[in-house]
Protein backbone atom coordinates (compact mmCIF):
# COMPACT_ATOMS: atom_id res chain seq x y z
CA UNK A 1 0.00 0.00 0.00
CA UNK A 2 2.70 2.44 0.94
CA UNK A 3 5.12 2.98 -1.87
CA UNK A 4 8.49 3.93 -0.57
CA UNK A 5 11.10 5.15 -2.95
CA UNK A 6 14.66 5.08 -1.81
CA UNK A 7 17.70 5.69 -3.86
CA UNK A 8 20.27 3.06 -4.69
CA UNK A 9 21.78 1.88 -1.50
CA UNK A 10 25.05 3.58 -1.11
CA UNK A 11 27.52 2.14 1.32
CA UNK A 12 29.07 5.55 1.68
CA UNK A 13 26.04 6.43 3.79
CA UNK A 14 27.57 4.26 6.44
CA UNK A 15 29.55 7.31 7.39
CA UNK A 16 26.38 8.64 9.01
CA UNK A 17 26.55 8.30 12.72
CA UNK A 18 23.70 5.87 13.25
CA UNK A 19 21.94 6.96 16.39
CA UNK A 20 18.47 5.60 17.16
CA UNK A 21 16.75 8.81 16.06
CA UNK A 22 18.63 8.95 12.76
CA UNK A 23 17.73 5.32 12.20
CA UNK A 24 14.07 6.07 12.94
CA UNK A 25 14.03 8.97 10.52
CA UNK A 26 15.69 7.13 7.65
CA UNK A 27 13.71 6.01 4.65
CA UNK A 28 15.45 2.67 4.79
CA UNK A 29 14.20 2.03 8.30
CA UNK A 30 10.71 3.12 7.26
CA UNK A 31 10.84 0.65 4.39
CA UNK A 32 12.23 -2.02 6.71
CA UNK A 33 9.32 -1.63 9.12
CA UNK A 34 6.58 -1.17 6.54
CA UNK A 35 7.38 -3.84 3.98
CA UNK A 36 10.68 -5.57 4.56
CA UNK A 37 12.21 -7.28 1.53
CA UNK A 38 15.49 -9.10 0.96
CA UNK A 39 17.23 -6.02 -0.39
CA UNK A 40 16.44 -3.91 2.64
CA UNK A 41 17.24 -6.67 5.10
CA UNK A 42 20.63 -7.07 3.45
CA UNK A 43 21.17 -3.32 3.67
CA UNK A 44 20.66 -3.24 7.42
CA UNK A 45 22.47 -6.51 7.88
CA UNK A 46 25.62 -4.99 6.41
CA UNK A 47 25.40 -1.88 8.57
CA UNK A 48 24.79 -3.81 11.76
CA UNK A 49 27.37 -6.48 11.10
CA UNK A 50 30.08 -6.48 13.77
CA UNK A 51 29.00 -3.12 15.18
CA UNK A 52 27.54 -3.61 18.63
CA UNK A 53 26.98 0.10 19.10
CA UNK A 54 24.84 0.50 15.99
CA UNK A 55 23.04 -2.72 16.86
CA UNK A 56 22.16 -1.23 20.20
CA UNK A 57 20.86 1.95 18.58
CA UNK A 58 18.95 -0.08 16.02
CA UNK A 59 17.22 -2.03 18.78
CA UNK A 60 16.27 1.20 20.51
CA UNK A 61 14.81 2.46 17.27
CA UNK A 62 12.92 -0.78 16.82
CA UNK A 63 11.52 -0.54 20.32
CA UNK A 64 10.27 3.01 19.88
CA UNK A 65 8.89 2.18 16.48
CA UNK A 66 7.27 -0.89 17.96
CA UNK A 67 5.64 1.08 20.73
CA UNK A 68 4.31 3.72 18.37
CA UNK A 69 3.12 1.18 15.85
CA UNK A 70 1.30 -0.95 18.39
CA UNK A 71 -1.65 1.41 18.35
CA UNK A 72 -5.25 0.40 18.21
CA UNK A 73 -7.81 1.40 15.69
CA UNK A 74 -10.14 4.14 16.77
CA UNK A 75 -13.23 2.32 17.80
CA UNK A 76 -16.84 3.09 17.00
CA UNK A 77 -20.11 1.27 17.20
CA UNK A 78 -20.88 -1.01 14.22
CA UNK A 79 -23.85 1.03 13.01
CA UNK A 80 -22.00 4.35 13.25
CA UNK A 81 -20.21 4.05 9.91
CA UNK A 82 -23.33 2.81 8.12
CA UNK A 83 -25.36 5.66 9.57
CA UNK A 84 -22.94 8.31 8.34
CA UNK A 85 -22.86 6.76 4.88
CA UNK A 86 -26.63 6.54 4.87
CA UNK A 87 -26.95 10.22 5.79
CA UNK A 88 -24.51 11.22 3.05
CA UNK A 89 -26.36 9.25 0.39
CA UNK A 90 -29.68 10.60 1.62
CA UNK A 91 -28.47 14.18 1.53
CA UNK A 92 -27.11 13.71 -1.97
CA UNK A 93 -30.40 12.26 -3.12
CA UNK A 94 -32.45 15.00 -1.53
CA UNK A 95 -30.29 17.56 -3.21
CA UNK A 96 -30.58 15.81 -6.55
CA UNK A 97 -34.31 15.26 -6.32
CA UNK A 98 -35.46 18.39 -4.58
CA UNK A 99 -32.66 20.80 -5.22
CA UNK A 100 -32.52 24.37 -4.12
CA UNK A 101 -34.50 27.05 -5.91
CA UNK A 102 -31.33 27.98 -7.68
CA UNK A 103 -31.14 24.82 -9.72
CA UNK A 104 -34.85 24.62 -10.37
CA UNK A 105 -34.44 24.61 -14.09
CA UNK A 106 -32.17 21.62 -14.23
CA UNK A 107 -34.80 19.41 -12.67
CA UNK A 108 -36.69 16.86 -14.71
CA UNK A 109 -40.26 17.89 -14.03
CA UNK A 110 -39.48 21.51 -14.71
CA UNK A 111 -38.22 20.39 -18.07
CA UNK A 112 -41.41 18.39 -18.51
CA UNK A 113 -43.41 21.43 -17.49
CA UNK A 114 -41.46 23.52 -19.94
CA UNK A 115 -42.11 21.11 -22.79
CA UNK A 116 -45.74 20.93 -21.74
CA UNK A 117 -45.82 24.66 -21.97
CA UNK A 118 -44.38 24.59 -25.45
CA UNK A 119 -46.90 22.01 -26.65
CA UNK A 120 -49.78 23.88 -25.08
CA UNK A 121 -48.55 27.15 -26.48
CA UNK A 122 -48.28 25.66 -29.93
CA UNK A 123 -51.70 24.05 -29.73
CA UNK A 124 -53.17 27.36 -28.66
CA UNK A 125 -51.56 29.02 -31.61
CA UNK A 126 -52.83 26.25 -33.81
CA UNK A 127 -56.38 26.49 -32.54
CA UNK A 128 -56.09 30.19 -32.99
CA UNK A 129 -55.40 29.73 -36.67
CA UNK A 130 -58.28 27.30 -36.99
CA UNK A 131 -60.67 29.64 -35.26
CA UNK A 132 -59.38 32.71 -36.91
CA UNK A 133 -62.42 33.56 -39.06
CA UNK A 134 -64.78 33.51 -36.08
CA UNK A 135 -62.87 35.11 -33.30
CA UNK A 136 -60.07 36.95 -34.95
CA UNK A 137 -60.60 40.13 -33.00
CA UNK A 138 -60.89 38.68 -29.51
CA UNK A 139 -58.13 36.20 -29.92
CA UNK A 140 -55.59 38.53 -31.34
CA UNK A 141 -53.25 37.30 -28.61
CA UNK A 142 -52.08 33.71 -28.26
CA UNK A 143 -52.05 32.25 -24.76
CA UNK A 144 -49.78 29.81 -23.08
CA UNK A 145 -51.15 27.61 -20.39
CA UNK A 146 -49.33 25.63 -17.76
CA UNK A 147 -51.09 22.92 -15.83
CA UNK A 148 -49.36 21.42 -12.83
CA UNK A 149 -50.84 18.12 -11.64
CA UNK A 150 -51.03 17.06 -8.01
CA UNK A 151 -47.83 15.88 -6.46
CA UNK A 152 -45.75 18.23 -8.60
CA UNK A 153 -44.56 21.79 -8.80
CA UNK A 154 -43.23 23.92 -11.59
CA UNK A 155 -41.62 27.21 -12.33
CA UNK A 156 -41.99 29.52 -15.29
CA UNK A 157 -40.29 32.65 -16.41
CA UNK A 158 -42.63 34.92 -18.30
CA UNK A 159 -41.51 36.88 -21.36
CA UNK A 160 -41.07 40.01 -19.19
CA UNK A 161 -38.69 38.22 -16.81
CA UNK A 162 -41.24 37.66 -14.05
CA UNK A 163 -40.65 34.39 -12.23
CA UNK A 164 -43.57 32.29 -11.12
CA UNK A 165 -43.52 29.17 -8.97
CA UNK A 166 -46.60 27.02 -9.33
CA UNK A 167 -47.81 24.70 -6.61
CA UNK A 168 -49.53 21.37 -7.21
CA UNK A 169 -52.92 21.38 -8.98
CA UNK A 170 -52.47 24.84 -10.39
CA UNK A 171 -53.12 26.41 -13.72
CA UNK A 172 -51.55 29.53 -15.17
CA UNK A 173 -52.52 31.21 -18.39
CA UNK A 174 -50.63 34.12 -19.89
CA UNK A 175 -50.27 35.72 -23.29
CA UNK A 176 -47.18 34.89 -25.25
CA UNK A 177 -46.76 38.61 -25.80
CA UNK A 178 -47.75 41.08 -23.10
CA UNK A 179 -49.59 44.28 -23.85
CA UNK A 180 -47.52 47.41 -23.35
CA UNK A 181 -49.34 48.94 -20.40
CA UNK A 182 -50.51 45.84 -18.56
CA UNK A 183 -49.28 42.33 -18.04
CA UNK A 184 -52.28 40.11 -17.38
CA UNK A 185 -52.16 36.54 -16.21
CA UNK A 186 -54.88 34.13 -15.09
CA UNK A 187 -54.42 31.83 -12.17
CA UNK A 188 -56.19 28.89 -10.63
CA UNK A 189 -54.48 27.28 -7.69
CA UNK A 190 -51.44 28.52 -5.80
CA UNK A 191 -48.52 30.52 -7.14
CA UNK A 192 -45.60 32.56 -5.92
CA UNK A 193 -44.89 35.61 -8.04
CA UNK A 194 -41.61 37.43 -8.28
CA UNK A 195 -42.68 40.25 -10.56
CA UNK A 196 -40.13 42.15 -12.54
CA UNK A 197 -40.61 45.88 -12.21
CA UNK A 198 -41.27 47.60 -15.50
CA UNK A 199 -42.09 51.31 -15.61
CA UNK A 200 -45.66 52.12 -16.55
CA UNK A 201 -46.58 48.48 -16.86
CA UNK A 202 -48.86 47.00 -14.21
CA UNK A 203 -48.85 43.31 -13.50
CA UNK A 204 -52.33 41.87 -13.05
CA UNK A 205 -53.35 38.50 -11.69
CA UNK A 206 -56.93 37.51 -12.36
CA UNK A 207 -58.26 34.75 -10.21
CA UNK A 208 -61.82 33.82 -9.38
CA UNK A 209 -63.25 37.28 -9.25
CA UNK A 210 -60.22 38.84 -7.61
CA UNK A 211 -57.88 41.18 -9.39
CA UNK A 212 -54.43 41.54 -7.92
CA UNK A 213 -52.46 44.49 -9.15
CA UNK A 214 -48.78 45.19 -8.58
CA UNK A 215 -45.85 46.98 -10.13
CA UNK A 216 -42.83 44.99 -9.04
CA UNK A 217 -43.16 42.89 -5.92
CA UNK A 218 -43.06 39.41 -4.51
CA UNK A 219 -46.28 37.84 -3.35
CA UNK A 220 -48.14 34.58 -3.00
CA UNK A 221 -51.65 33.85 -4.21
CA UNK A 222 -53.63 30.85 -3.08
CA UNK A 223 -56.83 30.45 -5.01
CA UNK A 224 -58.13 26.94 -5.46
CA UNK A 225 -61.59 26.73 -7.01
CA UNK A 226 -62.62 24.08 -4.49
CA UNK A 227 -61.73 26.30 -1.55
CA UNK A 228 -63.78 29.13 -0.18
CA UNK A 229 -61.09 31.73 -0.10
CA UNK A 230 -58.62 33.59 -2.27
CA UNK A 231 -55.60 34.44 -0.17
CA UNK A 232 -53.00 36.99 -1.20
CA UNK A 233 -49.88 37.36 0.93
CA UNK A 234 -47.07 39.84 0.40
CA UNK A 235 -43.38 39.07 0.74
CA UNK A 236 -42.02 42.32 -0.62
CA UNK A 237 -43.54 45.60 -1.82
CA UNK A 238 -47.15 46.64 -1.99
CA UNK A 239 -50.06 44.78 -3.54
CA UNK A 240 -53.55 45.95 -4.44
CA UNK A 241 -56.27 43.35 -4.07
CA UNK A 242 -59.55 44.21 -5.70
CA UNK A 243 -62.39 41.82 -5.08
CA UNK A 244 -65.05 44.32 -6.07
CA UNK A 245 -67.72 43.48 -8.54
CA UNK A 246 -71.12 44.73 -9.53
CA UNK A 247 -72.76 42.49 -6.95
CA UNK A 248 -70.77 43.60 -3.94
CA UNK A 249 -69.50 46.86 -2.56
CA UNK A 250 -66.08 45.60 -1.61
CA UNK A 251 -63.44 48.24 -1.97
CA UNK A 252 -59.92 47.40 -3.03
CA UNK A 253 -57.41 46.87 -0.23
CA UNK A 254 -53.68 47.51 -0.22
CA UNK A 255 -51.50 45.07 1.62
CA UNK A 256 -47.87 45.29 2.73
CA UNK A 257 -45.19 42.71 3.55
CA UNK A 258 -46.26 39.99 6.00
CA UNK A 259 -49.90 40.85 5.47
CA UNK A 260 -52.53 38.63 3.97
CA UNK A 261 -55.82 39.53 2.39
CA UNK A 262 -58.41 36.81 2.49
CA UNK A 263 -61.36 37.07 0.18
CA UNK A 264 -64.24 34.85 1.14
CA UNK A 265 -66.02 34.04 -2.07
CA UNK A 266 -68.47 32.12 -0.12
CA UNK A 267 -72.15 31.92 -0.33
CA UNK A 268 -72.08 29.26 2.30
CA UNK A 269 -70.89 29.35 5.85
CA UNK A 270 -67.40 29.96 7.02
CA UNK A 271 -65.54 31.13 10.04
CA UNK A 272 -62.55 33.37 10.24
CA UNK A 273 -59.57 31.34 11.26
CA UNK A 274 -57.67 34.32 12.55
CA UNK A 275 -59.36 36.49 15.13
CA UNK A 276 -56.87 39.28 14.71
CA UNK A 277 -57.89 39.83 11.14
CA UNK A 278 -59.97 42.92 10.99
CA UNK A 279 -62.64 43.48 8.45
CA UNK A 280 -62.07 46.18 5.94
CA UNK A 281 -65.48 46.57 4.38
CA UNK A 282 -67.57 49.39 5.76
CA UNK A 283 -70.79 47.52 6.24
CA UNK A 284 -70.87 44.53 8.47
CA UNK A 285 -71.55 41.87 5.93
CA UNK A 286 -73.59 38.81 6.54
CA UNK A 287 -71.76 35.53 6.41
CA UNK A 288 -73.46 34.68 3.21
CA UNK A 289 -71.99 37.70 1.53
CA UNK A 290 -68.50 37.88 0.10
CA UNK A 291 -66.04 39.56 2.40
CA UNK A 292 -62.43 40.58 2.46
CA UNK A 293 -60.21 40.66 5.54
CA UNK A 294 -56.63 41.71 6.09
CA UNK A 295 -54.34 40.39 8.79
CA UNK A 296 -50.76 39.76 9.69
CA UNK A 297 -49.25 36.38 8.91
CA UNK A 298 -46.04 34.43 9.18
CA UNK A 299 -45.07 34.92 5.56
CA UNK A 300 -42.27 32.35 5.71
CA UNK A 301 -44.72 29.56 6.42
CA UNK A 302 -46.97 30.65 3.60
CA UNK A 303 -44.33 30.66 0.89
CA UNK A 304 -42.30 27.74 2.17
CA UNK A 305 -43.96 25.33 -0.26
CA UNK A 306 -41.84 26.68 -3.08
CA UNK A 307 -38.73 25.47 -1.25
CA UNK A 308 -40.34 22.08 -0.75
CA UNK A 309 -41.14 22.62 2.90
CA UNK A 310 -44.48 21.25 3.88
CA UNK A 311 -45.79 23.50 6.64
CA UNK A 312 -48.89 23.24 8.75
CA UNK A 313 -49.51 26.42 10.68
CA UNK A 314 -52.25 25.70 13.21
CA UNK A 315 -54.30 24.00 10.54
CA UNK A 316 -57.10 21.51 11.00
CA UNK A 317 -56.60 17.92 9.95
CA UNK A 318 -59.25 18.60 7.32
CA UNK A 319 -57.15 21.35 5.77
CA UNK A 320 -54.04 19.22 6.11
CA UNK A 321 -55.75 16.39 4.23
CA UNK A 322 -56.40 18.74 1.31
CA UNK A 323 -52.79 19.92 1.37
CA UNK A 324 -51.50 16.37 1.50
CA UNK A 325 -53.73 15.32 -1.36
CA UNK A 326 -52.16 18.00 -3.55
CA UNK A 327 -48.66 17.52 -2.24
CA UNK A 328 -48.50 13.73 -2.36
CA UNK A 329 -51.15 12.92 -4.93
CA UNK A 330 -53.08 10.76 -2.51
CA UNK A 331 -56.61 10.99 -1.29
CA UNK A 332 -56.99 11.22 2.46
CA UNK A 333 -60.30 10.39 4.04
CA UNK A 334 -60.82 11.23 7.70
CA UNK A 335 -63.54 9.20 9.33
CA UNK A 336 -64.09 11.23 12.44
CA UNK A 337 -65.55 14.69 12.92
CA UNK A 338 -63.50 15.48 16.03
CA UNK A 339 -60.30 14.39 14.32
CA UNK A 340 -61.13 16.59 11.32
CA UNK A 341 -61.16 19.68 13.50
CA UNK A 342 -58.00 18.80 15.40
CA UNK A 343 -55.32 21.43 14.75
CA UNK A 344 -51.65 20.77 14.00
CA UNK A 345 -48.55 22.82 13.53
CA UNK A 346 -45.45 21.36 11.95
CA UNK A 347 -42.78 21.76 9.37
CA UNK A 348 -41.34 19.07 7.13
CA UNK A 349 -38.17 20.14 5.44
CA UNK A 350 -36.60 16.95 4.15
CA UNK A 351 -39.06 15.72 1.57
CA UNK A 352 -40.71 13.46 4.10
CA UNK A 353 -43.05 10.84 2.76
CA UNK A 354 -46.71 11.07 3.64
CA UNK A 355 -46.22 8.13 5.97
CA UNK A 356 -43.70 10.19 7.90
CA UNK A 357 -46.14 13.08 8.05
CA UNK A 358 -48.89 10.82 9.35
CA UNK A 359 -46.47 9.29 11.84
CA UNK A 360 -45.61 12.78 13.08
CA UNK A 361 -49.30 13.45 13.61
CA UNK A 362 -49.57 10.07 15.26
CA UNK A 363 -47.06 11.17 17.87
CA UNK A 364 -49.48 13.64 19.42
CA UNK A 365 -52.82 12.32 18.29
CA UNK A 366 -53.11 8.58 18.11
CA UNK A 367 -54.39 7.65 14.67
CA UNK A 368 -54.63 4.60 12.49
CA UNK A 369 -54.50 4.63 8.73
CA UNK A 370 -54.90 2.11 5.97
CA UNK A 371 -55.54 2.01 2.27
CA UNK A 372 -59.04 1.38 1.04
CA UNK A 373 -58.92 1.39 -2.72
CA UNK A 374 -57.28 4.65 -3.75
CA UNK A 375 -58.05 6.31 -0.49
CA UNK A 376 -55.99 6.50 2.62
CA UNK A 377 -58.48 6.20 5.44
CA UNK A 378 -57.54 7.78 8.75
CA UNK A 379 -59.36 6.92 11.94
CA UNK A 380 -58.65 7.86 15.53
CA UNK A 381 -57.03 5.18 17.58
CA UNK A 382 -59.21 5.10 20.65
CA UNK A 383 -57.50 2.41 22.63
CA UNK A 384 -54.28 4.43 22.61
CA UNK A 385 -56.11 7.67 23.21
CA UNK A 386 -57.87 6.27 26.25
CA UNK A 387 -55.78 3.37 27.47
CA UNK A 388 -57.86 0.98 29.44
CA UNK A 389 -56.89 0.79 33.02
CA UNK A 390 -56.11 -2.64 34.31
CA UNK A 391 -58.82 -3.92 36.52
CA UNK A 392 -57.57 -4.43 40.03
CA UNK A 393 -57.32 -8.04 40.94
CA UNK A 394 -59.73 -9.21 43.54
Amino acid sequence: VYKVKFGSINMAENKIKWTYDEILLSKEFFAYTMEPNEEIKEYWGKILENDMEVQNEFNKALKINDLLMSHKKTRYSPSFKENILHTIIQKIEIEENAGSPRNWFTRPFVRIAASLLLILGLSFLFSLFLNRPKTAIELSVAYNEIIVPSGEKAQVVLPDGTKIWLNSESKLRYPSVFAKDARKVYLEGEAYFDVRKIKKSKFLVNTQGVKIEVLGTIFNVKSYPDEQTVETSVVEGKVKVDAGSQNNNIEPVYILPSERAIFYKSSGTFTSANKEEKRITKETPLHQKPLITVGEVNIKNIVSWKDYFLVFDNETFDEIAVKMARWYKIHVQINDEVLKKQRFTGKFVNNETFYQVLEAINLTTPIEYKYEGNELVVTPCYHRMFPQKKKPKI
Binding site: V1, Y2, K3, V4, Y20, D21, L24, L25, K27, F30, T33, M34, P36, K41, L48, M52, Q55, N56, F58, N59, K60, L62, K63, I64, N65, D66, L67, L68, M69, S70, H71, K72, K73, T74, Y76, K81, I84, L85, T87, I88, I89, K91, I92, E95
Partner: protein, 192 residues
Protein backbone atom coordinates in the same frame (compact mmCIF):
# COMPACT_ATOMS: atom_id res chain seq x y z
CA UNK B 1 -11.00 -2.64 -6.56
CA UNK B 2 -8.51 -0.14 -5.22
CA UNK B 3 -9.29 3.33 -3.98
CA UNK B 4 -7.89 5.04 -7.06
CA UNK B 5 -10.23 3.15 -9.42
CA UNK B 6 -13.10 3.88 -7.03
CA UNK B 7 -12.14 7.53 -7.02
CA UNK B 8 -12.27 7.59 -10.82
CA UNK B 9 -15.76 6.10 -10.75
CA UNK B 10 -16.76 8.51 -8.00
CA UNK B 11 -15.78 11.40 -10.25
CA UNK B 12 -17.96 9.94 -12.99
CA UNK B 13 -20.93 10.08 -10.63
CA UNK B 14 -21.08 6.45 -9.54
CA UNK B 15 -22.88 6.32 -6.19
CA UNK B 16 -21.92 2.70 -5.55
CA UNK B 17 -18.29 3.70 -5.90
CA UNK B 18 -18.95 6.43 -3.35
CA UNK B 19 -20.25 3.84 -0.87
CA UNK B 20 -17.40 1.41 -1.40
CA UNK B 21 -14.78 4.15 -1.22
CA UNK B 22 -16.39 5.55 1.92
CA UNK B 23 -16.33 2.15 3.60
CA UNK B 24 -12.75 1.47 2.65
CA UNK B 25 -11.43 4.87 3.76
CA UNK B 26 -13.68 5.53 6.75
CA UNK B 27 -11.43 4.02 9.44
CA UNK B 28 -8.48 6.17 8.40
CA UNK B 29 -10.55 9.35 8.15
CA UNK B 30 -12.36 8.75 11.41
CA UNK B 31 -9.15 7.86 13.22
CA UNK B 32 -7.47 11.03 11.99
CA UNK B 33 -10.52 13.14 12.76
CA UNK B 34 -10.79 11.78 16.28
CA UNK B 35 -7.11 12.54 16.75
CA UNK B 36 -7.60 16.17 15.77
CA UNK B 37 -10.51 16.74 18.13
CA UNK B 38 -12.32 14.72 20.76
CA UNK B 39 -15.68 16.00 19.56
CA UNK B 40 -17.34 13.10 17.72
CA UNK B 41 -20.03 15.42 16.36
CA UNK B 42 -17.51 17.60 14.58
CA UNK B 43 -15.72 14.59 13.12
CA UNK B 44 -19.01 13.10 11.99
CA UNK B 45 -20.15 16.39 10.43
CA UNK B 46 -16.79 17.00 8.81
CA UNK B 47 -16.76 13.59 7.15
CA UNK B 48 -20.30 14.17 5.89
CA UNK B 49 -19.53 17.68 4.69
CA UNK B 50 -16.38 16.43 3.00
CA UNK B 51 -18.14 13.72 1.00
CA UNK B 52 -21.04 16.00 0.09
CA UNK B 53 -18.64 18.69 -1.06
CA UNK B 54 -16.56 16.24 -3.07
CA UNK B 55 -19.68 14.84 -4.69
CA UNK B 56 -21.02 18.28 -5.54
CA UNK B 57 -17.73 19.38 -7.03
CA UNK B 58 -16.81 16.08 -8.62
CA UNK B 59 -16.89 17.53 -12.13
CA UNK B 60 -14.14 19.99 -11.18
CA UNK B 61 -11.99 17.42 -9.40
CA UNK B 62 -9.25 15.35 -10.89
CA UNK B 63 -7.92 11.85 -10.65
CA UNK B 64 -5.19 11.62 -8.05
CA UNK B 65 -2.29 9.24 -7.79
CA UNK B 66 -3.09 8.08 -4.28
CA UNK B 67 -6.50 8.83 -2.82
CA UNK B 68 -5.86 8.26 0.87
CA UNK B 69 -3.54 11.19 1.65
CA UNK B 70 -5.66 13.36 -0.61
CA UNK B 71 -8.75 12.62 1.45
CA UNK B 72 -6.87 12.93 4.74
CA UNK B 73 -5.72 16.38 3.69
CA UNK B 74 -9.22 17.33 2.54
CA UNK B 75 -10.67 16.14 5.86
CA UNK B 76 -8.10 18.18 7.76
CA UNK B 77 -9.15 21.29 5.86
CA UNK B 78 -12.83 20.55 6.44
CA UNK B 79 -12.18 20.04 10.15
CA UNK B 80 -10.39 23.37 10.37
CA UNK B 81 -13.39 25.12 8.92
CA UNK B 82 -15.90 23.20 11.06
CA UNK B 83 -13.86 23.73 14.23
CA UNK B 84 -13.55 27.40 13.45
CA UNK B 85 -17.26 27.60 13.10
CA UNK B 86 -17.84 25.80 16.37
CA UNK B 87 -15.29 27.89 18.22
CA UNK B 88 -16.14 31.13 16.46
CA UNK B 89 -12.53 31.76 15.75
CA UNK B 90 -11.95 35.37 14.85
CA UNK B 91 -8.68 34.95 13.06
CA UNK B 92 -9.65 33.16 9.90
CA UNK B 93 -6.25 33.04 8.27
CA UNK B 94 -3.94 31.37 10.68
CA UNK B 95 -3.90 27.83 11.97
CA UNK B 96 -1.76 28.00 15.05
CA UNK B 97 0.48 25.22 16.21
CA UNK B 98 -2.04 24.18 18.80
CA UNK B 99 -5.16 24.67 16.75
CA UNK B 100 -6.09 21.03 17.14
CA UNK B 101 -6.42 19.67 20.64
CA UNK B 102 -4.58 16.46 20.10
CA UNK B 103 -4.30 14.09 23.00
CA UNK B 104 -3.10 10.54 23.25
CA UNK B 105 -4.49 8.10 25.75
CA UNK B 106 -3.31 4.73 26.97
CA UNK B 107 -6.31 3.26 25.22
CA UNK B 108 -4.71 4.14 21.91
CA UNK B 109 -2.08 1.49 22.39
CA UNK B 110 -2.06 -2.23 22.70
CA UNK B 111 -0.79 -3.73 25.89
CA UNK B 112 0.42 -7.26 25.49
CA UNK B 113 2.30 -7.87 28.66
CA UNK B 114 2.68 -6.36 32.06
CA UNK B 115 6.07 -4.88 31.13
CA UNK B 116 4.43 -3.13 28.20
CA UNK B 117 1.98 -1.41 30.46
CA UNK B 118 4.62 0.67 32.14
CA UNK B 119 6.28 1.75 28.93
CA UNK B 120 2.92 2.48 27.35
CA UNK B 121 1.94 4.79 30.14
CA UNK B 122 5.27 6.52 29.84
CA UNK B 123 4.88 6.76 26.07
CA UNK B 124 1.47 8.37 26.37
CA UNK B 125 2.73 10.86 28.94
CA UNK B 126 5.69 11.78 26.74
CA UNK B 127 3.58 12.06 23.59
CA UNK B 128 1.17 14.40 25.30
CA UNK B 129 4.01 16.73 26.20
CA UNK B 130 4.76 17.32 22.52
CA UNK B 131 3.50 20.33 20.61
CA UNK B 132 0.33 20.02 18.55
CA UNK B 133 2.25 19.82 15.32
CA UNK B 134 4.59 17.17 16.65
CA UNK B 135 1.68 15.10 17.90
CA UNK B 136 -0.06 15.36 14.56
CA UNK B 137 3.03 14.56 12.51
CA UNK B 138 3.83 11.56 14.69
CA UNK B 139 0.25 10.39 14.39
CA UNK B 140 0.36 10.59 10.60
CA UNK B 141 3.77 8.96 10.48
CA UNK B 142 3.10 6.05 12.82
CA UNK B 143 -0.67 5.63 13.05
CA UNK B 144 -1.38 6.24 9.38
CA UNK B 145 1.98 4.99 8.10
CA UNK B 146 2.68 8.04 5.96
CA UNK B 147 6.16 8.89 4.74
CA UNK B 148 7.57 12.39 5.23
CA UNK B 149 6.47 13.56 1.80
CA UNK B 150 2.90 12.52 2.48
CA UNK B 151 2.88 14.03 5.96
CA UNK B 152 4.19 17.28 4.52
CA UNK B 153 1.50 17.20 1.87
CA UNK B 154 -1.31 16.63 4.38
CA UNK B 155 -0.09 19.18 6.90
CA UNK B 156 0.97 21.70 4.25
CA UNK B 157 4.48 21.98 5.61
CA UNK B 158 7.70 21.44 3.74
CA UNK B 159 9.37 18.06 3.98
CA UNK B 160 12.34 19.33 5.95
CA UNK B 161 10.16 20.89 8.66
CA UNK B 162 8.17 17.70 8.92
CA UNK B 163 11.41 15.79 9.34
CA UNK B 164 12.59 18.23 11.98
CA UNK B 165 9.24 18.18 13.75
CA UNK B 166 9.19 14.41 13.96
CA UNK B 167 12.86 14.30 14.88
CA UNK B 168 12.33 16.59 17.85
CA UNK B 169 9.33 14.55 18.83
CA UNK B 170 11.29 11.31 18.72
CA UNK B 171 14.13 12.82 20.71
CA UNK B 172 11.65 13.68 23.44
CA UNK B 173 10.76 10.02 23.58
CA UNK B 174 14.30 9.07 24.56
CA UNK B 175 13.21 8.87 28.18
CA UNK B 176 11.45 5.70 27.22
CA UNK B 177 14.71 4.00 26.49
CA UNK B 178 16.18 3.23 29.92
CA UNK B 179 13.23 0.98 30.58
CA UNK B 180 14.45 -1.55 28.05
CA UNK B 181 18.12 -0.85 27.63
CA UNK B 182 18.88 -4.55 27.79
CA UNK B 183 20.84 -5.40 24.75
CA UNK B 184 18.60 -7.60 22.67
CA UNK B 185 20.38 -9.19 19.74
CA UNK B 186 19.24 -8.02 16.31
CA UNK B 187 16.41 -10.15 15.08
CA UNK B 188 14.10 -10.01 12.14
CA UNK B 189 11.07 -8.21 13.39
CA UNK B 190 7.74 -9.75 12.55
CA UNK B 191 5.64 -7.01 11.03
CA UNK B 192 2.31 -7.50 9.38
Amino acid sequence: MNNEILWGKFLEGDKDALSVLFKSIFDDLYGYGMRLTRNTEIVNDSIQDLFLKLWKNRLNLQQVEIVRPYLLKALRRQMISNLRWSKRYINMEEVSDDFFEIEYSHEDFLVKEQTDKESNEKLVALLNQLTGRQKEAIYLRYFQGCDFETVSEIMTMNVQSVRNTIHRGLLSLRDLLPVFLLCVPFVDPVYK
